[in-house]
Amino acid sequence: MEYSVKIDRFEGPLDLLLHLIQKNDLDIYDIPVAEITDQYLSYIHTMQVLQLDIASEYLVMAATLVEMKSRMLLPVHEDELDDQDWLIEEDEEDPREALMHRLLEYRRFKEAAEGLKVREQERSEQYSKPVTNLEPYIEEETNKNESINASLYDMLDAFQKMLQRKVKSDPAITTVPREEISIEDRMGEIMDTLSTNGGKQSFNKMFVRSDRSFAVVTFLAILELMKGNVIQCEQSFNFEDIIIYKTGGESL
């Protein structure tokens, strides 16, 4: 199965650059272009090695950085200066200026997004209830000639509210705090299961709980065990259940 993942969890080249600047404690107002370019490129390279999809914007930024780096390395010739006075004048500006402004501007909104997130969190601490069904109060004749004064978005909004209402009313007291299971613990449990079942068990039966984190941890635990040659997996046909065998190999 192929995973197409955005580069790590960066929201784009600007986000990645901000990250690199922060991580390396660089001055955003005086970006060392050579350094940041190298880091950026090595990042992109790693992604290529991992065969992750790289959005074109990342490549465009890479090109921009490389160009900027080379421009800053190039010595400015005196005669050229004379010839193209007007051009250079305009060009005189630090080529990093534009990038700096983009980064700063992007950072403002990234922070604003963070602020919104906090607000949303605070808001979610205040619970309400769905609208009481007032249909019994409606008298038929009165509502017929009334025109609907609503936009498409009101309709979508109503729909959204209904979905939320369903989520809310479905489970009463079923929200169990998520139990963190470590991969290591899960590896142990899998080995125990195999032992009590004569050394083999169906892959599907390993997923005894339906929540996602459990499934992910189980899956990673199985991968780990396979890597360690402690178990072996077999599948007779496509889409057939996979059988996990305990190998005679090294134990944990």
């Binding site: 209830k129 069904n133 009165t142 609907i148 309709m155 209904m162």
Partner: protein, 199 residues
């Protein structure tokens, strides 16, 4: 925890549980107090609600409590649904309309399934307003009436065709997939780090 605090929380609990209400056990579990205490608090609250400056009351059936409005205020709720800017009326109608618009052709039972409430009235309202119409009968045994939107619906919402309907909020699914991938990678990173640290 003081009694006052518990009573305040119970008021909130009854409120969020809305039309469904709560039973004693649920309140007990949430507050971690015993049933007797729950009942005592409910009695205090009930008395307070009786004051004429309050607009709500606690009703109960066999240990199941629910907050409702007072019957003597009924005329005002009627006025509320009848008022021209009433959103409460349109909520039912809009929900129903959204379902029919996106799922057409659809039978009434299926609309009701989705909404979780009887929907005869909003369907009739929408029909009367010319926003939906019968578009056929289902294959099944009941040969239920199937509903779809009309051209009046397109007019009302400024759409050229049904294709112009904005995408349905199916983002729940999207975000859960995203979360899954995130979860996978955060776990993955953990494993990687553990590996690195042991190497």
């Amino acid at each position: 925890m003081s009694d006052t605090h518990h009573q305040a929380v119970i008021e909130g609990l009854l409120f969020v549980s809305g039309d469904e209400g709560l039973d004693e056990k649920q309140i007990r579990d949430v507050l971690d107090i015993d049933i007797e205490e729950v009942r005592r608090h409910i009695d205090v609250l009930r008395q307070r609600f009786e004051s004429e400056e309050r607009g709500l009351q606690i009703v109960d059936w066999a240990g199941h409590y629910q907050l409702t409005t007072k019957p003597e205020h009924a005329e005002y709720f009627k006025r509320l649904v009848e008022s021209p800017q009433s959103t409460t009326l349109s909520q039912a109608a809009l929900e129903t309309l959204a379902i029919i618009a996106y799922k057409q052709p659809i039978a009434r039972v299926d609309v009701e399934d989705l909404r979780g409430v009887k929907s005869e009235r909003p369907i009739r309202t929408l029909q009367a307003k010319g926003l939906i119409q019968e578009v056929g009968r289902s294959e099944g045994t009941g040969r239920a009436i199937l509903y779809g939107t009309t051209s009046g619906f397109l007019d009302q919402f400024g759409l050229r065709s049904l294709d112009e309907l904005p995408p349905l909020p199916d983002t729940e699914v999207d975000s859960s997939i995203e979360n899954e991938v995130d979860l996978f990678f955060s776990q993955f990173e953990k494993v990687e780090q553990e590996h690195e640290s042991t190497e």
